[in-house]
Symmetry: D2
Subunit: 243 residues, 4 copies
């Protein structure tokens, strides 16, 4: 059983009617419902909770954290950000969705600006699978079509991903590295582009399938934590066997 915590800033849905119309209970609730049935133990957390719902206790019990944020990135406390980053380096999986590219934890883990081009025009997005042996694209066909999405365009200022899984095409002519994996410390991170708050992207089955795959991929393994520091003394050197 994988313990999944879905974090959502949950602001748009409360103040913008067009967003509320799409996600009346919030993006986190839609994701939790959509990911049900995969054998995950799912809880949610939001910005307005004490410590944004991400206490030490919650994070320590979380195997994989899913993150959606946009207009309130700056309201996430640096203390909570440091806690999330530390847990990722210690092995917790992290799935960063859409506008989470500008979230504090993601930027801290990438070390770059994470900036990009964008346009709100409801264009068609076609997400192409460029890594057909990767567990995150398992069961996904050559492409996923989203009838209407916000455009994100290159240059996306991230480190070269460890693995590139998806590339998006936008009707307006742009491309975007839409599915990217990164290993940091003992943790695994997946950035997945789709999910503008005004479109019903997180109800689309292939999108939920990719997120579920990513959760399974990012699950922390039972490997001993690396040991760091002073390694005194040196081993006793001995001649090789048959020299």
């Amino acid at each position: 059983m994988i313990n999944v915590t879905i974090w959502n800033e949950f602001v748009h849905e409360n103040i913008h009617d067009e967003v509320k119309a799409v996600y009346p209970e919030g993006i986190h609730a839609a994701l939790a419902a959509g990911l049900d049935g995969n054998g995950f133990a799912i809880t949610t957390a939001t910005l307005d909770q004490p410590e944004h719902g991400l206490t030490e206790e919650v994070l320590n019990a979380t195997d994989v954290l899913v993150w959606w944020g946009h207009m309130a990135h700056d309201q996430v406390s640096d203390e909570v950000v440091a806690r999330v980053v530390k847990r990722v380096l210690g092995g917790m999986g992290l799935i960063v969705l859409h506008s989470g590219h500008f979230s504090k934890p993601f930027k801290a883990l990438m070390g770059t600006s994470c900036d990009l081009k964008w346009r709100e025009a409801g264009e068609q997005e076609i997400i192409w699978n460029v890594n057909p042996s990767h567990p995150i694209s398992m069961g996904i066909d050559a492409k996923i079509i989203l009838e209407h999405e916000e455009m994100y365009g290159e240059f996306f200022d991230i480190p070269a991903p460890d693995e590139l899984v998806f590339i998006s095409n936008f009707e307006g002519g742009e491309v975007f590295r839409s599915g990217c994996t990164f290993r940091r410390g003992q943790g695994k991170i997946f950035y997945f582009r789709p999910g503008h708050e005004t479109f019903p992207t997180y109800y689309q089955p292939e999108i939920l399938k990719v997120i579920a795959n990513a959760i399974n991929w990012a699950y922390p393994l039972q490997t001993p934590a690396p040991v760091f520091g002073n390694m005194q003394p040196v081993r006793e050197l001995k001649p090789a066997a048959v020299l």
Copy 2:
């Protein structure tokens, strides 16, 4: 249930007494016994069998192929090699062990000479885990110590691995990229260095654990095969939603 076929040229064990003493039933039999209990359905195949035991039927029923060869690389027929390569590109996992670096299928899949430095001096090898979030190093501590092994040294003429999992240190001063992953087509390949025929390397539990992990990692996923070729006609272009 993962169907594993362990292929061994099985020549050293028949003609060299010191090898026979270590692997009396052959390296393939030792590996099959050592990997028992992991939930794999294991069969073996050897050079002297018709079509080297790797008929179309056998390969089509194989999820992951393990390969050990050394002195008889040239005796493997080009037809069987082409068949193995095709199956890997189609999704079959391939675990290449030790002197298999010079096997025909591995060289064909790498596109390079796969050459390296070597020395038979029974030196100590220390295999360091440099990728502690990777499924292939799952459960493996900081290092694996092999008291006596053949030395393999850099430069190892392979493409830069997609992921580097292990690096070896040798008593004589060399280093080697000992655990390397490569994705080719829909298939996953893992090269794992240890296993000289005169040492009991394949009885060591951590070595068997790594091979079992690699088999689980290389298992082909249920993803539709990519479609290639002519994509006529072009889609009908339409204005974006809110332009």
Copy 3:
């Protein structure tokens, strides 16, 4: 002075009037003219010449080989292919253009099918720069627009490139990893997508700029060739200095 050999199969231009209209002297001649002024010593070679113009002597004197082929891939002799591959592994740069993705040398160096989707519809291609610190994109802005090109679409069955420099968007909705680097042995390889024979792509200044950049990047460096083989004897082990 970098010695560049531009190889072209030079068949389309002789038998298809629409191609001859675009490249009356052949693609190789257009490239040679377009790359003039970069400080390269450029010669050309074609399929119909003895040994396809790629004798040992020519290849040994070539720093970077540029390759365009399409309908006559199979007419390139295996002996010449082996010679090209060997020289690349020994350090010669290789720039593979457009339909060269299916050429024998490129497939041998990649180890995969190198297959892809394609469509001849004269669509607009937009090539996006996703690696703005790479020497191959030096001086190239965010994008290069080609008004009409053949479409190439993912999945492109290559190993994950060492570096991804360009991604293309096509009007029909596809994407493609258009600029990819690969290191093999001591040689550097750049695959660059554009250049269908019926469009004047190789007259476009940004395209020529990328190819010139790639030639400068692929130039073989003065590094000693790796030594392989038996490294006997082992060094004399001695205690470390201050143990």
Copy 4:
């Protein structure tokens, strides 16, 4: 002419006699002298200077910054660190030496702890060239031997390098990814392991050669800065040429 600024915290050399004996004018001065003759315009800067010698003006005029620090990492002001990081993302090259793995700019750019194992025992280090076509290993033979160095051992908690150029072997049995490249924003970063303050490492010609190569590699290219943000309006869609 490449403008190089060599930054050194310059603390050990002032308070530890054994370090002063090796680098009487400071590590920065030894590096500046050793790199002379490569066509660089070299200046130095140290912790004790106003703004640590890294004013906006200095950084804006710097093409490549070389960084050595150890015991005073925490004394580097966060404002200067942010300035360095911003300049790297904007294109300035950064060469991080030895104990600079724990410097604030490097950790911020990596996003990880950058921790490692270490031991001060004056062991022999052998640095192996695992990337013989890379400009940073240009002219470097199979290995560089340092008779006495501090040991750094894996696991080194960095993101997987974009390119791995060197791997070290230590007499005590450890290995280390000693030469690693990272692209961040428009900037190029090279981490190079050797250089403990009590050993004359920075007088050894091959070490200086690698650093000079790295400076040439990290030099910022004349590529337009990426544009980010709102890309309104969408282009006018038009039918493809021959649909």
